[in-house]
Every structure is written in C-alpha cells, then in structure tokens.
C-alpha cells in the first residue's frame, strides 16, 4: 500500500513538472524588427493601426470622453512617497476619463522588470521611463514598442512642434526627428523637453580667489594650471577634488578646454562644432593627448585629490569638507550644498559660478549642452489599444499647453500655489528647489508627469538655470557639441558594444597610467605603446563602423 502510494506521489510530481513546461498560454511579443538600414525585408514592429488620423482631443482637454480608459504604467520611482492628495488622479479622471495603475521600480531595476514582463506577455500599456542605456533600442528592435510616423505623432500631439521653440525653430521635425527615428521613418520612444538646455558651468570659491589675488577666472588651460598652483601654494589646499573609478569621467570636464565634449566617456565619436570635423575615435587623437598631458600635470603637482581613482564620492565629499576644493565643473544649482558642506571649516566660504569658459580657442569655446530631449523618454507597448494611445496622447498634448504646464509645475491654484502680484508662488508648506523645508509637491502628485516645467517655474525656482541660459546658451562665443546622429544596424550595435567593452577598459587603464606618471603622454614611445594596444583591440574596425554609420545617418 505504502509502495503504491509512493509510486503515485512520484508520478504526480513528474506529471506536474511536465504540465508546467507545456501549453503555456502566454503571448510573447512580436519578434519582428524595425527595417534595418541593411535593406532587410523584415517587417517593422506593430504599426499604430486603427484610425490615427482622427483628430486628437481638443487642446485644453475640453473634449468629453464617455468611456473610461485604464492604463497600466511602469515608471521609474525612487523612494515612493505616499500621496496625501491625489490631484493628478482626480485631474486625469475629470479631464480625460482616464485611470492610471502605476508600478514604480528603481531606475536600475527597470531593465530587468521590463524584460521579464515582456517575456511573459504581461507588459504594461505605457512605460514612463525608457532610455537606450536601459535597453530601449533592443526592445524597439524586438517589437515591444509602438511606432509613430511624424504625421501620426503630430496629429496626436501637435504641441511637439513648438515644445523646443525657446532653443530654435523646427527642432522636433528636424534634428530631433532625425535623431530619434529608425530606418522605417518612425519613432518608438516619445521625447519630453529637458527642463533646461544645460545646467553645468565652472564654479569656484570666490573667497579663495580673493585671498590668492586671482581677479579673473582662468580663460585657458595654462591660466587654469597657474591658478591651481597659486591656490595650492598660498592656501595649502588641494584645489581640485573629484573621485571616480573611471578617470575618463574626471578629465572629461577639463577636455572641453580643447573642444572635446563633456560627455567624453559616452561619446568616443563626435563632430567638432568649430571645425565640423568628425572624430571617428577621439581617444588616440592629438587633442586627447594634450588633455592627458594636462591631466598628468594636475595630478603630479598635487593639484588633485590624491585618492581620485579609488575613493568613493562620500570620501571625496569628506575631503572637500575639510576645506579642499576651490574650483570645479559642476552644477550651479548645487552651490548652496557646497557652501553648507564647508561652512564649519571655512566660515567665509563663498562658492559662485562663472560664465567664463576656459578654452584654447577664446572665440569658440566648447560648452556642454544637453541634448534637446530628456534622458527619460516614454513608450507605448505595441499591444496598447488605439483608444489608450489616443487618450494618453491627449493628456500629453494637454501637458504642452499653458494650463498643463502650470498643473505639472505649480499644481492647482489655491491648493498648492497662489497667485501673488500676478506671479505664481508655491505655498509655504511645500519644499522647492530654493527651500528644502516642507513636504514635497510629489505628495500631492505634482511634479513628475509633465512634458516640461515651463519658463515661469524655471525662472522663479531655479533662477540660476535661467541665468545659465542667458549667459552661456546665448553667448555667441560659446559652441555646443551635440551628439552625432548614429543609426546602427543590429549587427553593428552588437559589434560596437563588444569592441568598446575592451577598448574603454584599455583607455581608462592607460589614462590612469598617464595621470599617475607611470607612463608619460608626452613621451612618443609611451604614447605609441598606448596606440599600439588600441590597435591590437581592433580600434581600426571600430573606426570603420563609426565612419560608415555616420555617413549613412544623414548628419
């Protein structure tokens, strides 16, 4: 009897295992890919389908929607705050008869979450935050996202056409469309505008400069070096404090002095905005060599935090808190934090920012400007219905209007802000970028769902960024490196990733050798040894791919 029972149990377990392996009813996403530039005949991912030429909801959200639409949305969420008021939910229901079911995931986990959900056919209808760095290109190729032609998307969200007007005309239809669209002429990720065109500048301690008799911020690399030497000699502090296990991040800030992009680690290729020359691989160029020599001088003369290559950011911060750090390429919006950090040790600390841009070319100074669109883009699942697409696009369109911008940046009048002397002011109980005390507007569901903060909010609550745009963006002496449009095929993407994995490691390794003096970038033998190593890692092949892609991509 017991033996029979045992055999039966074993059979049940095996049968259960086999049943679980078969007849899975999950639907897998479309395996079709966007048409590659290689002329493949593979079909593009699921088209928008339906009647997308229908007029969108009237602007200002005045159209009535009889049918309630529910959307499952996956979004990046940091520490979730429990909303005390649901202003966004109420507005969505009232204006668009729409209900969102949000799932929040930490940014670093988004990739895993999206991959598993798509694999199981349980993808959300809308993904609030997608980026190439998290895999959006691969997801697009796998057919996960819904594509839109320019006509379709402008029909659904006409506000796109003017969202970047403050930076120039025709940006969406021109550069941005060319940058974001795939070879089938569609975009699969929807951009939002950055709150500001840029947010970094040279910051310095005015108290140190005054004590050292430095009356003007250095305007070229030689003056920069001399200023650092003077500060070290007279103040006995280390003027530059930074830390990263990838030294490319550290020197990229200095690289702008030679016209290199600030995003050096992410931009091995770029177009020199001054000469128009395309750099097919910058890390073995003469310009880069000059940067390495400069970096070596900085480190060897003790002008840089000695533990820059191994310390954590907290350790670097603690080192700066002792009174070190006198100039940096950083965020002017964080000056208050820098002052607070050093106040105890240096009571008269006075961090300020400058619109001076040190450069070897005083009339064409390279400045970091961010790409037009925010790093996070939006995407509809290819399985989203036409109704869901149209309703969500109606919301996004409304978000580009004055009313929508006000809602997303200030909230609701009388609830989260008041109008005083014709200007909107967020109520005292809420924190703002100017005031840390108070509850966040996020507890009222305000602040993270728009297309753009709007100029009024920016000029009121982040005046330093508005000032940045005036002084730096509009300065005719400044030029801006924008990413080249590079449209890769699947094979090219794979090969470039593989090659860069080894090459970037070699570049960082050699940079460390140069900076610490173990190798001399000014010595031809050492420099050639470095280049030889890059050659052995197939940098020539990488160059060819970059050149081919650049020429093909319609730059």
């Amino acid at each position: 009897m017991k033996k029979t029972l045992s055999i039966l149990m074993a059979a049940l377990i095996c049968a259960g295992s086999l049943a679980g392996c078969s007849g899975n009813s999950s639907s897998t996403p479309s395996s079709s890919t966007p048409a590659s530039t290689g002329g493949s005949s593979s079909t593009a991912p699921a088209s928008t389908g339906g009647d997308t030429s229908s007029a969108p909801a009237e602007q200002q959200g005045e159209a009535s929607y009889d049918k309630e639409i529910e959307l499952e949305i996956l979004r990046r969420g940091d520490v979730p705050t429990e909303p005390t008021e649901h202003l966004l939910d109420e507005m969505l229901k009232e204006k668009f008869n729409m209900v969102w079911k949000n799932t929040y995931v930490a940014g670093s986990d988004l990739s895993t979450k999206i991959t598993t959900l798509y694999a199981a056919g349980m993808e959300p209808d809308f993904i609030w935050n997608v980026r190439p760095a998290w895999g959006s290109d691969a997801w697009t190729e796998a057919g996960y996202f819904r594509g839109f032609t320019q006509e379709e998307i402008l029909n659904l969200i006409p506000g796109y056409e003017h969202l970047w007007d403050s930076q120039g005309e025709g940006i969406f239809k021109g550069y941005l469309w060319n940058y974001l669209s795939w070879s089938d002429g569609k975009i699969y990720t929807l951009p939002t505008a950055r709150d500001t065109a840029g947010n970094m500048a040279w910051v310095y301690r005015k108290d140190v400069f005054d004590k050292c008799g430095i009356t003007e911020f250095p305007s070229n690399p030689d003056e920069f070096l001399q200023a650092c030497r003077t500060i070290k000699e007279k103040m006995n502090i280390v003027p530059l404090v930074d830390a990263s296990d990838r030294p490319l991040f550290i020197i990229s800030k200095w690289g702008q002095m030679w016209g290199l992009p600030d995003m050096l680690p992410d931009m091995p290729t770029f177009v020199n905005p001054v000469t128009g020359e395309f750099y097919d691989y910058v890390y073995d160029s003469d310009t880069y060599r000059e940067l390495c020599k400069f970096a070596y001088s900085i480190v060897s003369e003790g002008l840089m935090y000695p533990e820059f290559a191994t310390a954590t950011s907290d350790q670097a911060k603690a080192y700066a808190a002792l009174g070190n750090k006198a100039l940096m390429y950083d965020y002017p919006a964080k000056l208050a934090e820098d002052n607070k950090l050093q106040k105890d040790n240096v009571p008269d600390v006075d961090w300020q920012w400058t619109d001076v841009v040190p450069s070897i070319n005083p009339d064409k100074r390279s400045v970091k400007k961010d790409n037009y669109h925010s790093a996070d883009m939006r995407a509809f699942a290819s399985s989203a219905t036409d109704e869901q697409v149209e309703r969500m696009c109606a919301f996004m369109q409304w978000s580009t209007t004055e009313e929508g911008i006000t809602f997303h940046s200030f909230g609701v009048e009388g609830v989260t802000y008041d109008v005083v002397d014709g200007k909107k002011q967020i109520k005292d109980q809420f924190s703002t970028p100017l005031k840390a005390e108070g509850v966040g507007l996020g507890t009222y569901q305000i602040g993270s769902s728009g297309m753009w903060k709007g100029s009024e909010y920016i000029s009121t609550y982040t005046p330093v960024l508005a000032e940045w745009e005036e002084k730096i963006l509009k300065n005719p002496k400044n030029v801006f490196v924008m990413p080249a449009i590079m449209k890769y095929t699947e094979e090219e993407t794979s090969r470039v990733t593989e090659l860069n994995t080894y090459l970037t490691d070699a570049v960082n390794k050699w940079l460390l050798l140069f900076m610490t003096g173990q190798k001399d970038p000014g010595n031809d033998a050492d420099w050639n040894e470095y280049k030889a190593e890059l050659e052995s890692l197939n940098v020539k092949e990488l160059r060819e791919i970059y050149k081919t892609v650049y020429e093909r991509s319609g730059n």
Binding site: K2, K3, S6, I7, A10, C14, G20, N24, S25, S26, G77, D78, V79, P80, T81, E82, T103, Y104, A106, G107, S108, D109, K113, T115, T116, A119, A120, G121, M122, R194, D195, T196, N199, D314, A318, Y319, A321, L322, Y331, K340, L341, D344, D370, S374, A375, S431, P433, A436, E437, G438, V439, G440, L441, G442, G447, K453, Y457, I458, Y461, T462
Partner: protein, 298 residues
C-alpha cells in the same frame, strides 16, 4: 582536567585570542559605524567625522523613518513574508527530509533526484517568471516569494542527515507502542531536532528577511513591497538624484536628500538589521550545535 601550561600552548592561545579580537573588530566596526552615523548630524556625516561613536547626537533620521508610512508598512510586510515563509519552508523541508531519511520509503532514489536536480540546474529568470506568473498565477502575490523556494535542497540535505543519525530503535519502539508515522514525526522526531530546526530555520529566516530581488520581479504594488526593497531604493536615492541632476531634471522632492541622507540611509539599515539581531541570541545556543550537523552528510 589539567591545564596545559606549556609555552607552545600559551603562544597558541595568544594567537587565537588575537585573531578572534581582530575578527571581532573587523566585524563589529561596520555595525558600530552604521549605528553611529544614523545617530549623528548631517554635518558630521558629510565631513566624515563619525567613527564608532555618534557625533552631534540626534535621532532626526529615526523620526523621519517612523514618519514614513511606506517604510513602516514595508517592515510589516517583511515580518509577514518572513514568518509565513519560514513556517512553510520548515513544514515542507522537515517532512521531505524525514521521508527521505527512512530507508523503507519506496522510490526514495527518485525523490532524492527530484530534489537534487534544481540544486544544480535552473531555468533562469525568464522561465522562472513564466512559470510563477503565467502557470501558477502568483504574480503580484506574496506566494511568489514563498512557494518557489519552499524547499532549499541544501537545507533539506542537512535535515535528512540529522534524521538519519537518530537511532532507528526510537522509531521501532514507537511503532510497537502503536504510534503511526505522523505521531512519530511530530511527537518524537521533531522535538529531538530542535538544534537542526533552529539552524535551518535561521537560514530560511535570514534569507526571507534579506530578499529584495524576488519582490522587485514578482510584485507590482508598493503596498506589498518588503523592507529590503525600500531600503535599496533609499540607498540608491543619492545616485538617483545625482543622475537626475546630470540629466537636467529639476528635483523638487529633495527634502530627504538635503536633510541628512547618510543618516537616513543608515537608520533604515539599522531598522532592518534590528529584528535579526534581536532574534539571534535566542537561537544561538542551538545554532552552535546545529551548524556542525550538516558537516557529515549522507
């Protein structure tokens, strides 16, 4: 017993004591640092002044945590998942191990193989996700965190080894007295197995308490998330805010960052460590005995 007073013995004692002191310091220092930082001011933390004692003592970070309903709810979720999960783990593991330890179980070899295969082979994340979410329909449920790992093969082997070591005469005499398998198991074997049960139970307990990845993959709602997942998000907050600044986003909800991010981060760590640190002393006397049980397997 005569104490060994030879020189070599004393030298050995010194070496042992010195090593243990070093291990103690190395182990204890990070814990003390974390606790001290959580009780120090933002200024002290930013300037790296904290070592093993709080500097500019304050409990603002803890006040902040206990005012965060998301964290207290996550703590409650972790308690439920851990308690329920450990109970289910122990039920399945002990019964399976006991059954496998009895030579008279028919097809014992097949049951052993069924248990051993997952120890060496796994389908990976996607197949597991498909199984749990699609086939078993456990997506967005705490059962997805508990049932798939109901039996850990290593722990089961440890328990099986212990059950094998118990004298067969106990079982035989119980049978003679009229007891059946259930009575023998619950009334004789389990009471004799306290050491191994506490040991294995602790392994499961700590595993559930520290787990966050499964929650991230299988849960959809913040209301169900465990404490470790929330803790991770707080730990990542600094990087997240830096990323937002790098991306040009204007961050408005930054009060957590500006007040005393380091203290809040460490206070949350202490908050999550505390239950395990409170439970362990009660289990310790069983643990030292039980940890050697699995050393001789088969």
């Amino acid at each position: 017993m005569i104490a060994d007073k030879s020189v070599s013995s004393k030298v050995m004692d010194i070496i042992v004591y010195a090593t243990m002191i070093i291990v103690l310091v190395v182990t204890l220092y990070p814990v003390l640092y974390v606790i001290s930082s959580s009780l120090s001011s933002a200024n002290a933390n930013d300037r790296g002044l904290v070592t093993i004692f709080p500097v500019e003592f304050n409990i603002d970070a803890y006040k902040g945590i206990f005012h965060m309903p998301t964290l207290t709810r996550a703590f409650k979720n972790s308690v439920i998942i851990t308690a329920g999960g450990t109970a289910i783990n122990m039920l399945f593991t002990t019964t399976y191990a006991y059954a496998l330890s009895r030579k008279r179980l028919a097809l014992r070899g097949i049951y052993t193989i069924i248990a051993m295969i997952p120890m060496y082979f796994s389908g990976g994340l996607i197949p597991s996700f498909l199984l749990i979410s699609q086939t078993l329909h456990l997506y967005n449920s705490w059962w997805a965190l508990i049932l798939p790992g109901a039996i850990n093969t290593s722990n089961m082997i440890i328990m099986r080894s212990f059950f094998v070591s118990l004298p067969a005469e106990l079982e035989e005499s119980a049978y003679l007295d009229g007891a059946n398998d259930f009575v023998i198991f619950f009334k004789i074997m389990l009471p004799l197995s306290q050491a191994v049960m506490m040991t294995v139970g602790l392994y499961y307990l700590v595993g559930h308490w520290n787990s966050w990845f499964s929650a991230m993959v299988y849960l959809n709602e913040d209301e169900k998330m465990p404490l470790q997942y929330m803790l991770r998000q707080i730990v990542l907050l600094s990087a997240s805010l830096d990323q937002a600044a790098y991306d040009g986003e204007i961050v408005t909800d930054s009060s957590l960052y500006f007040t005393n991010y380091v203290a809040v981060k460490y206070a949350t760590l202490v908050f999550s460590m505390a239950p395990m640190m409170m439970i362990y002393p009660f289990i310790q006397r069983f643990f030292v005995k039980g940890v050697m049980i699995g050393s001789v397997k088969g």
